[in-house]
Subunit: 223 residues, 2 copies
DNA sequence: CTCTCATTGATTGTATACAATAATAAATCT
DNA sequence: AGATTTATTATTGTATACAATCAATGAGAG
């Protein structure tokens, strides 16, 4: 894996915590590379908004509750649009892919256990599989570009750790509703279903952020 | 100016034409720098989607007519949302800024002459001033982030060269309508007005792309 | 004469060295 | 002691050298 993806993953899974300062040399040591490729990775992560520039060097970005709200609102907007466009432009192959993703989701739910790292990761994977199929069906690469930047945010990723079986089953139901609307080429219903689906995710995450007292995600930006 | 902004501008104004291959060494020579900072700039521009990776090195991205359509659709969506949020969250200072931007626009129109490089640039500047004020009034930095990536596309920038006085006056009228809706805190009217405004821009650009025979923007991707 | 393979040349990927600058620690003065 | 200046250290910014890889050219075989 290259430096960019390594560091990105480390941030997303929380290995590098928000506010943590990243120095080129320590990263270079950890990845057994020279500073040159590290610097390039850092520049890209800065473009992604996952790290913020300091006077000297960079630190892992801290997303506040307000950030998460706004990011979910954007996701709602973009993925809602994505679903509506998918309903217009989808082919039979797209439908097949979405169906396959939902079958995988079902299977993943059968093996699901709360707090089991592996089954959670599997859920995250098949969930992404479905959403990705929708975006691809929309036939708009630029939309894909923006959605991918909005979804990668650490908290969005980690939200799967906070779901329980009932909520995940509800998610699958939404996927089925969206699939039906896309199959019937009903853009508005597809959009609304996706909108509702992601909005539920937003509520879910926001509730958790309220609960957590010692919330290291909400630390003030280390200046 | 640093390497990133230099190359970006060169691409946006068309100095580096679509499909043109960029080698690190030639850029290093042109900017009188070593390859190291050039490489970092290239990685960022790749994130922006302004250049595309080749098997070896990179080339300036070529935006097809389909790309432009999709980009404008996204802009419509994002800036429409931006206007609606501005209507909700605006302060008096935001209104003042938007008013100032429109006054500047008026002034710029008085000095406007078709094909006059300077007055065109001035129009582009004050237009951006207004749109930027709206985004800032929406109080959503992430929205700002995405809109800025969607607006920078070369063709969007150059579209100002294709306007005439009547069309620019119409643009100013739209700005006024948007401002009114934002002032009255009417999100839906603000959204629709912005939507219509940008959609006109889209039509305008698409018509021009139809007209232009020897359209170097539409060259096939140099592989 | 054309196709294949090898050799050459150009360009990128990585490492390292040095210079510039910021952060930190020490020392001096009031 | 507290503040201010100076010295030291840490970290980044840039340049350059070398290794790895891809593209292009040419030589030889069919």
């Amino acid at each position: 894996m290259d430096a960019y993806n390594y560091i990105k993953d480390a941030i997303v899974i929380g290995k590098y915590e928000p506010g943590m300062r990243l120095t080129e040399e320590s990263l270079a040591n950890e990845l057994q590379l020279s500073r040159t490729p590290i610097r390039e990775a850092i520049k890209q992560l800065e473009s992604d908004g996952l790290i913020v520039p300091l006077k000297r060097g960079v630190s892992v970005r801290n997303f506040t509750k307000e950030d998460i709200k706004q990011i979910y609102d954007l996701r709602t907007l973009l993925e809602g649009y994505s679903a509506s466009q998918a309903a217009i432009n989808r082919t039979e192959e797209d439908i097949t892919e979405m169906e396959a993703a939902n079958v995988s989701f079902e299977k993943a739910l059968e093996n699901y256990e709360e707090n089991d790292m592996n089954s959670i990761k599997e859920i995250a994977r098949v969930n992404h599989q479905f959403h990705d199929a929708v975006v691809r069906a929309s036939r708009n690469p630029h939309l894909h570009f923006h959605i991918s930047k909005v979804v990668v945010v650490p908290l969005v990723y980690r939200s799967f750790y906070w779901y329980n079986l009932t909520q995940l089953q509800r998610s699958l139901e939404f996927h089925r509703t969206i699939l039906t609307a896309v199959r019937r080429q009903d853009p508005e219903r597809a959009r609304i279903a996706m909108h509702e689906h992601i909005y539920q995710g937003r509520d879910h995450v926001m509730n958790h952020l309220d609960d957590i007292k010692d919330n290291h995600f909400l630390k003030e930006d280390a200046k």
